[in-house]
């Protein structure tokens, strides 16, 4: 997998997330207050909805976090681990800034949505 440009760094507001579609994977990208970037899967493992980019960004004991907007479980932006329920985590993706542009490197193969749609269509 390679790096994909998603938007200008300036398009990211501090402590808010955006979602990017990269090779069929929904990636939630967050800019923290001090300007760092983090990228997680957008899929909230608790609800099954693609919503993490719309959660509230904050910190827990200094660690940057996002809370699912549906049921408020908190995830570490650094590790993807859920800090409210042991054993649950979301994939972390690589993110960097090049020439003022945000780039994401997705760590999961595409094809997931084809599968999802097949399931949905069948159901």
């Amino acid at each position: 997998m390679s790096w994909t440009r998603i938007c200008a760094y300036d398009a990211l507001a501090p402590e808010r997330g955006v979602c990017a579609l990269v090779d069929g994977v929904q990636v939630a990208v967050f800019r923290t207050y001090d300007g760092d970037l983090h990228a997680l899967d957008n899929l909230d493992p608790f609800s099954g909805a693609y919503v993490l980019s719309r959660g509230i960004v904050g910190t827990r004991k200094g660690e940057p976090t996002v809370a699912s907007p549906l049921h408020k479980q908190v995830f570490s932006l650094v590790t993807g681990r859920c800090l409210d329920e042991e054993g649950v985590s979301v994939p972390v993706h690589a993110v960097r800034v090049r020439d003022g542009l945000v780039e994401v490197n997705v760590r999961r193969p595409a094809g997931f949505f084809e599968e999802l749609r097949a399931v949905a269509a069948a159901g």
């Binding site: 955006v18 509230i56 907007p69």
Partner: protein, 808 residues
């Protein structure tokens, strides 16, 4: 030395066991009328549920001679021997009478057809009779009667209990306890007939029992009748041989358990010790031990016994300790929860005299040791074991209905896992993780369990919401960053950020998505719509007072149709349009705004709707224009950010068709004006609103609501509805009246000004967003593919509309 024991029940058993234990080397003969050695009568009922007679029977101590199934018919004190029914004689040096007691059977016609409940044979007979029976009656509503009734029930009969006293278990509980107990027993399907005697046991033409006639002539149909109306000491042998017996029965003994003949002892239920017959196994055992000790030269004495009882009957805990009356008493009664607790106290309110418990015997364990002593704490605290009501929630009471978590589970988490805060409880039990409405109860449980609940909002602020409100107001703070830098730590979370956003909105208004404030909002406020389970949003146009023109109704229909939205009428007299993707929201708003709609706050902690009935304009009963008032109120308070959502309603007359009393503030029209009710809500913990003020003019009404809302917004906790807030106010409704109607704190001018500011600066959030390209830019599913809809959002169809399909 030759010892003969007459009767082989629990007391006799304890006696021979004690002798054997003390190394008695004489000859001991026990003569018992039952076909087996002594058995555990206390657990007799378990015989019906499968415990065998052998399992109940005690082992005979080594060296003891037993003569079973043998009745003693006489005592010859001169010859010093007892005579048995088979004509034999058994000589003794010391005689011990342990003949126990027999059930009292009232001398009514047909009583010979009834059963008693005392021995294994009795139970065999009852079990056989129950085979062809449908209904059974137990005469006697005491401890044993209830146990017998439960046994009948377990044998598959519909059981009734007839009790002479006006309530059940009169020896253990008072009238209040009796009525709570009755509730428990009836809920198990047993019939309770208290305050009723017995006329006769009725038999049918075939000679079989047909029922029980009560003195009032009514017939309780039953094929099995059991008498359990008290016990009578079996003192007939003693009486016949000239030993002293009590007036109402019982063999008179001294504290050494000796009868009026020094070589004859009596122990157990047949003995009258200190003027009392003891019908509990504990004292009987003590008597047996005393007698054995004396016979072997000891000096033990029986000084009476504590008749406190604690038992679980039919699954209900019942306990009684100490005295059953006193100069003062304190009662806790919860007929709904089936709990009754009462303490008796001396007239100086210092000494605990006794207590009664039904449904929760915890005070028995904790307080029995204090009988006759100074009270360890205020009586009410002792009964409530804390200050408020939650500690009295039975463990099995459900606290979180979303996740089926009971009070007991939460207490276990607190006790065993060392949980000290709400997030901890959430982690351990899942309580509070779904709709969150049970969180205040979780907090209370924590408080009651002695864990000090910090008032800190979260790890980022050591202040409560009300304190933060004051800090923001007094210091004139306008941004979250400023506030957290000076008064907090870290960068906030999903708890403090929306709370601070709400405070800033209350104090300064301005658009919720302006600058940094956008990052503080919950997703609903951030996208000005209501998020649904699949990540889509619903849009609820404001329809003040529920009044809408046909043209507007058509626009809503057209918008729903054009965007393929699921449509549903809400409980707040609006129309909810579901299934909009983020990028569709601005388009939907544009259509609505063009038609004269504005954003309805179905999202956010803000005023939702003011419902109304049709009122005096159309309704023949109406006394005021409820629709007009509802519209005026909704327009006045729209957009008002608050600690929790706010709902309201206006009814045009006392018939209350708008259900105003289930709202945070509800208005009911009167001939003279308006009545204002506050602090109601539906939902998880329904509460009727309390009448705050009567017959207000329109102007007075609005001023009072202004102040009520602003005072609530200033002082309530995060996510505290007005109902809980009102209950938490020291001084309650009266205090609230003083503050907002008499201005006791001198803040009314301030509250009024704040509301004026809100009203003057309100702006439609949708329209403002549509007019701002920067804000609009955020309404895309994908930042790198603005035109692409989120492929994960999939719908199926149901009843002609869409419904979300989740991938799993």
């Amino acid at each position: 030395m030759r010892i003969v024991v007459v009767g082989y029940g629990p007391a006799a058993h304890r006696f021979v066991e004690t002798l054997a234990g003390k190394g008695f080397d004489g000859r001991v003969t026990v003569i018992g009328e039952e076909p087996r050695p002594a058995y555990d009568r206390v657990h007799l009922t378990s015989y019906l549920s499968g415990t065998s007679a052998d399992e109940l029977t005690y082992a005979v101590p080594g060296g003891i001679v037993t003569r079973l199934a043998t009745r003693v018919t006489a005592v010859d004190r001169e010859a010093r021997h007892v005579v048995t029914a088979d004509g034999g004689a058994e000589p003794y040096d010391v005689l011990v009478l342990a003949t126990g007691s027999a059930p009292f059977v009232p001398p009514v016609p047909g009583a010979e057809h009834a059963f008693v409940y005392r021995t294994i044979e009795d139970l065999d007979a009852i079990r056989a009779a129950a085979k062809d029976a449908v209904e059974g009656v137990v005469v006697g509503g005491g401890l044993l009667g209830l146990e017998a009734a439960d046994a009948l029930r377990a044998l598959g009969l519909k059981a009734h209990i007839v009790e002479m006293s006006p309530w059940l278990m009169p020896r253990q509980v008072d009238e209040g306890g009796g009525s709570v107990l009755k509730g428990h027993i009836e809920s198990l399907g047993l019939g309770v007939h208290a305050g009723s005697g017995v006329q006769e046991v009725v038999t049918g033409p075939d000679g079989r029992v047909a029922g029980l006639r009560k003195p009032d002539g009514t017939l309780l149909e039953a094929q099995v009748v059991v008498f359990s109306a008290g016990i009578r000491p079996r003192d007939e042998l003693a009486r016949a041989c000239g030993l002293d017996v009590g007036e109402r029965g019982g063999i008179v003994v001294d504290s050494a358990m000796r009868t009026s003949d020094p070589s004859v002892y009596a122990v157990g239920e047949c003995a009258l010790a200190g003027g009392m017959v003891y019908g509990l196994v504990g004292p009987c055992n003590t008597m047996a031990e005393v007698a054995a000790d004396r016979i072997m030269g000891g000096t033990a004495a029986f000084e009476g016994a504590d008749m406190s009882t604690k038992l679980k009957l039919l699954g209900v805990e019942v306990a009684q300790f100490g005295a059953m009356d006193g100069a003062l008493d304190v009662t806790y009664m919860d007929p709904v929860g089936g709990v009754y607790k009462k303490l008796f106290i001396s007239d100086d309110a210092r000494t605990l005299l006794g207590g009664i418990c039904v449904g929760d015997a915890s005070p028995y364990t904790a307080l029995r040791p204090f009988v006759g002593k100074e009270l360890p704490a205020a009586p009410s605290d002792l009964l409530f074991s804390g200050a408020g009501a939650t500690l009295d929630l039975p463990d099995e009471a459900q606290v979180c209905s979303c996740n089926n978590v009971c009070a007991g589970d939460i207490r276990t988490a607190i006790a065993d896992q060392g949980v000290t805060d709400v997030p901890g409880i959430k982690g351990c039990t899942r309580a509070g993780t779904t709709c969150g409405s049970c969180v205040p109860m979780l907090k209370q449980l924590l408080e009651k369990s002695g864990v000090e609940v910090s008032k800190a909002l979260c790890e980022h602020f050591a202040y409560s919401r009300a304190e933060l409100f004051d800090i923001v107001r007094v210091r004139g703070i306008t941004t979250f960053s400023e506030l957290i830098a000076e008064h907090g730590q870290g960068r906030g979370c999903d708890i403090c950020k929306p709370a601070v956003a709400s405070i800033l909105a209350s104090l300064h208004n301005g658009h919720v998505l302006d600058g940094e404030r956008a990052a503080l909002q919950d997703t609903n406020d951030a996208f000005l719509a209501n998020i649904q389970k699949n990540g889509t949003y619903s849009v609820v146009p404001r329809i003040p007072g529920g009044e809408i023109t046909p043209e507007k109704l058509i626009v809503i229909g057209e918008v729903a149709r054009d965007f393929g939205l699921y449509t549903k009428i809400t409980g707040g007299q609006r129309i909810d349009l579901f299934g909009a993707r983020i990028e569709q929201l601005p388009e939907i708003w544009r259509r609505l705004v063009e038609a004269g709609f504005e954003s309805g706050h179905a999202y956010g902690k803000a005023l939702r709707t003011v419902k109304s009935c049709v009122g005096s304009t159309w309704c023949r009963y109406g006394v005021q224009d409820s629709v007009g008032m509802a519209i005026a109120l909704e327009l006045r308070y729209r957009g008002l950010r608050s600690p929790h959502k706010l709902k309201s309603a206006v009814s045009g007359c006392a018939r209350e068709c708008a259900e105003a009393r289930s709202k945070d503030f509800g208005i009911i029209a009167t001939e003279q004006g308006w009545n204002l009710y506050v602090g109601g809500n539906g939902g998880f913990k329904p509460r009727h609103a309390d009448l705050l003020a009567k017959d207000l003019s329109t102007e007075e009404l609005i001023r009072t609501i202004d102040r009520f809302l602003m005072f609530y917004i200033r002082t309530a906790d995060r996510l505290q509805r007005t109902a809980a807030w009102l209950e938490s106010l020291d001084g309650g409704l009266d205090y609230l009246r003083e503050v907002i109607m008499e201005d006791s704190l001198g803040i009314c001018a301030d509250l009024d000004a704040q509301m004026e500011h809100h009203v003057a600066t309100y702006a439609d959030e949708w329209r403002a967003t549509l007019d701002d390209p920067e804000k609009l830019g955020r309404f895309v599913s994908f930042v790198n593919a603005p035109g692409v809809p989120d492929p994960s959002i999939v719908f199926a169809s149901e009843r002609g509309q869409i419904k979300p399909v989740m991938a799993r």
